[in-house]
């Protein structure tokens, strides 16, 4: 290896940081990455980025994590960006003018520069007053307010003729502004890393890949990104379920049919006949807590199960906060507009009666009294919720009644196992009756769905 020792060290550090974020790059991959650097040289940063990605990234969806970490370990520069040292905008208004011009033209290099300048000018806090200072993307964006420039950029771009594509312009600018926000975040991370050390920032400030985001902590945009993964994920799960069914159906020999078949070959059983099990498609009932914090998790799971609908003979979905109602029809039609699903369920179904705090006891009682016949001996019941009863009665008898009728009952809890049973959580009481699984991320959910559903 002719790469400089400093570079190999940096590469090894970089790979370690990637591993911490769930990109399992082994020594083999690291060696490949080093070979890639040797072939490509270090002249062009984008080539280095793509080369390393080819060697280290192993699947789609890991790329955002890779890029964010790459920007920390192989930064585009050190300190204040080049342009900022001369003829740069001097105050916030000039900066906004320059930004509006750059956005109107879609000038990428200029936007990169402006992001750097913005962080330098508006993003500093507490520097010079000892440790604890740094650069904040949030503060930068808060002071710069790039989203308020949209109307101005629109006016600057508006072509005289009123073309059809004009109405797309606003969305395009919005996307550019969103890109610019991303640039500011990258820049703030880079500057912070110079102050605090790369590995620390890499550990805390790089957002995890979408399928590893904690449901309970996911932001709006992360949930939106998660929803985009539903279709591919459901396709993958369907293949996995189908493959398992196929495997399960071979093996046992059907003696009667083998003998009958052997008559055509003079009594020699040349082609054994196997006993096929009818591919029984399970019925599934979802019972979901729809209250504030866990709603994101419940909605995601509903949409996923809905996307898997051809794997089940029947799906029924019930939601509750302090009162239970069937929401199957809403999930059906809601597939067209998943973002509004949560809001529509709260407004169109009778799931909230009093104050919008979840009441497990009451909701379960209502379910067992009105819809217990939805559960039969072929039904798998999935209960989704954090089991936080707000101090109310957990109503364990209702869970027992459900368990007695259903084929399987599983409880998916979006909280960490360590938190079960703390505070007002009745998780441990429920866990004694039905199997409870920790299900914090889309990745865990995917694994659970294939494992739990009967073949």
């Amino acid at each position: 290896m002719t790469a400089a020792p400093g570079l190999t060290g940096r590469l090894a550090e970089f790979v370690r940081a990637l591993r911490a974020h769930g990109i399992p790059a082994g020594p083999g991959e690291t060696a490949d990455a080093a070979a890639a650097l040797e072939v490509l040289g270090l002249d062009d940063r984008e080539l280095v980025r793509e080369g390393l990605a080819a060697a280290l990234v192993r699947r789609g969806g890991q790329r955002s994590v890779f890029d964010a970490t790459f920007d920390l370990y192989f930064p585009s520069g050190i300190g204040v960006p080049e342009l900022a040292r001369e003829n740069a905008p001097q105050d916030r208004d000039e900066l906004r003018d320059a930004l509006a011009a750059a956005l109107a033209q879609g000038d990428e290099p200029a936007l990169d520069q402006l992001a750097g300048i913005a962080v330098e000018m508006l993003g500093q806090y507490g520097i010079g007053s000892g440790p604890g200072g740094g650069y904040s993307a949030h503060q930068t964006l808060d002071r710069l307010q790039p989203q308020t420039l949209i109307a101005r950029v629109l006016a600057a771009m508006r072509a005289p003729a009123d073309d059809f594509t004009d109405r797309l312009t606003r969305d395009e600018i919005r996307r550019r502004v969103e890109d610019f926000r991303g640039k500011v975040r990258t820049e703030a991370r880079r500057r912070a890393a110079e102050l605090r050390g790369r590995s620390r920032i890499a550990q805390h400030a790089v957002a995890p890949a979408a399928d590893r985001v904690d449901f309970l902590l996911a932001s709006r945009s992360q949930l939106a990104e998660l929803r985009r993964t539903i279709q591919p994920l459901s396709r993958k799960l369907a293949t996995r379920l189908a493959a398992r069914r196929k495997r399960a159906s071979r093996g046992q020999i059907d003696l009667r049919r083998t003998l009958r078949r052997s008559l055509s070959t003079g009594g020699v059983p040349l082609r054994p006949a196997y006993r096929h099990r009818r591919p029984g498609r399970p019925e599934i009932v979802l019972l979901c807590d729809l209250s504030g914090s866990v709603a994101g998790f419940a909605n995601f799971t509903m949409l996923l199960v809905q996307a898997l609908r051809d794997q089940f003979s029947k799906i029924r979905v019930f939601g509750f906060v302090d009162s239970t109602d069937e929401v199957t029809h809403l999930v059906d039609t809601g597939a067209a507009d998943p973002e509004q699903l949560g809001a529509r369920m709260l407004s169109e179904a009778a799931v909230v009666r009093w104050d919008g705090h979840s009441d497990y006891g009451g909701a379960l009682a209502q379910f067992t009294s009105r819809w217990l016949d939805a559960i039969g001996p072929r039904t798998s019941v999935l209960i989704l919720g954090d089991a936080r009863t707000n101090g109310g009665d957990p109503n364990l008898d209702a869970v027992r009644a459900i368990r007695a009728r259903a084929r399987h009952v599983h409880w998916l809890n979006p909280e960490r196992t360590a938190l079960w049973g703390t505070g007002d959580s009745a998780a441990l009481d429920y866990a004694e009756l039905v199997e409870m699984h920790e299900c914090r991320t889309a990745q865990q959910l995917g694994v659970l769905v294939t494992r739990l559903l009967p073949a």
């Binding site: 072939v39 789609g60 969305d171 395009e172 067209a336």
Partner: protein, 293 residues
């Protein structure tokens, strides 16, 4: 090591452009690396972004033979690697000349009776070869084990003949639509490339290249509408192939510019689901504008 087709990343872009494949920087870089490091290239991405086209384009510019293995559920060793020609072997035995069994046995397991399937063909040739393993995710898990030996060391073991090692290493491309997770072992042996939808500039170039005679203004509008559609939450996002189809359709229809009516009438070329079309109509505000007029 390596196939040595290209001299630099720019060279890859320039050469591929000559045969009508416009490569983005990630694509060109990874192809160059695969060429230099002699590793197979695993290409993933949505349908219709040019995964298979990449392999055929590389074969065309380098003047290589293209060997293609189309994977499907239930593909096995006999279809992928090699098979003995039983009928011919039987004929040879019945036509038996006066020789001992030992002689006959060595004879019927000779090259003459071997049916080469794509993997063996790619390995055993002496000319430069591009091996395309298409839709790897459709094949069963068992076949991956087979691929490991072939792609790891570029060799194949036939029990009766011994191990056949490639004299001329093929440029291997695997494509996958990610319907099934490929095994970790297979992934580690490959360089990974995720081809996503191209950015607007590149897509505009592609449209101009594939649809000669299209006006710049129309190409520009088409690409912008497609970009807007991709930003929506649709069941099936339009891919490059659909962009090109649409541009071609519009040219056939003689549309000089895009307006609501043209878009609404031809949206079916781009979107393949009814609820997608409805949603796109709402997103592009097609109805609203029509009502107003």
């Amino acid at each position: 090591m390596g196939t040595g087709f290209f001299t630099s990343v720019e060279d890859v872009s320039a050469q591929l452009a000559k045969v009508g494949y416009l490569a983005s920087t990630p694509v060109a870089t990874t192809v160059f690396l695969a060429d230099r490091l002699g590793k197979p290239l695993l290409v993933e991405g949505p349908a219709g972004v040019g995964k298979t086209a990449l392999a055929t384009a590389v074969a065309e510019v380098t003047g290589s033979r293209l060997v293609r293995l189309q994977c499907y559920e239930g593909i096995d060793e006999a279809r992928a690697l090699y098979e003995w020609n039983h009928a011919k072997q039987l004929l040879r035995i019945t036509a038996g000349r006066d020789e001992t069994w030992d002689e006959a046995r060595t004879d019927i397991f000779g090259e003459e009776f071997l049916l080469r399937r794509p993997l063996l063909t790619a390995i055993s040739g002496t000319e430069p070869t591009v091996l395309l393993i298409d839709e790897t995710d459709k094949a069963d898990v068992e076949i991956e084990g087979l691929l490991l030996e072939v792609l790891g060391d570029f060799q194949v073991t036939v029990p009766e003949l011994g191990t056949i090692t490639a004299t001329q290493q093929p440029f291997a491309v695997l494509t996958s639509n990610a319907t099934r997770e490929l095994s970790e072992a297979l992934r580690r042996r490959c360089l990974f490339l995720h081809i996503d939808f191209p950015d607007e500039d590149l897509e505009r170039e592609i449209v101009r290249l594939k649809v000669p005679g299209i006006e710049d203004a129309l190409a520009d509008s088409v690409v912008r509408v497609i970009a807007a559609l991709r930003a929506m939450d649709l069941r099936k996002l339009p891919s490059v192939a659909e962009t090109v189809d649409w541009a071609r359709t519009l040219l056939e229809l003689g549309a000089g510019t895009l307006d609501e009516r043209v878009v609404r009438d031809s949206l079916g070329v781009v979107l393949k689901h009814q609820d997608d079309i409805a949603k796109a109509g709402a997103g592009l505000k097609l109805d609203q504008v029509l009502d107003a007029s």
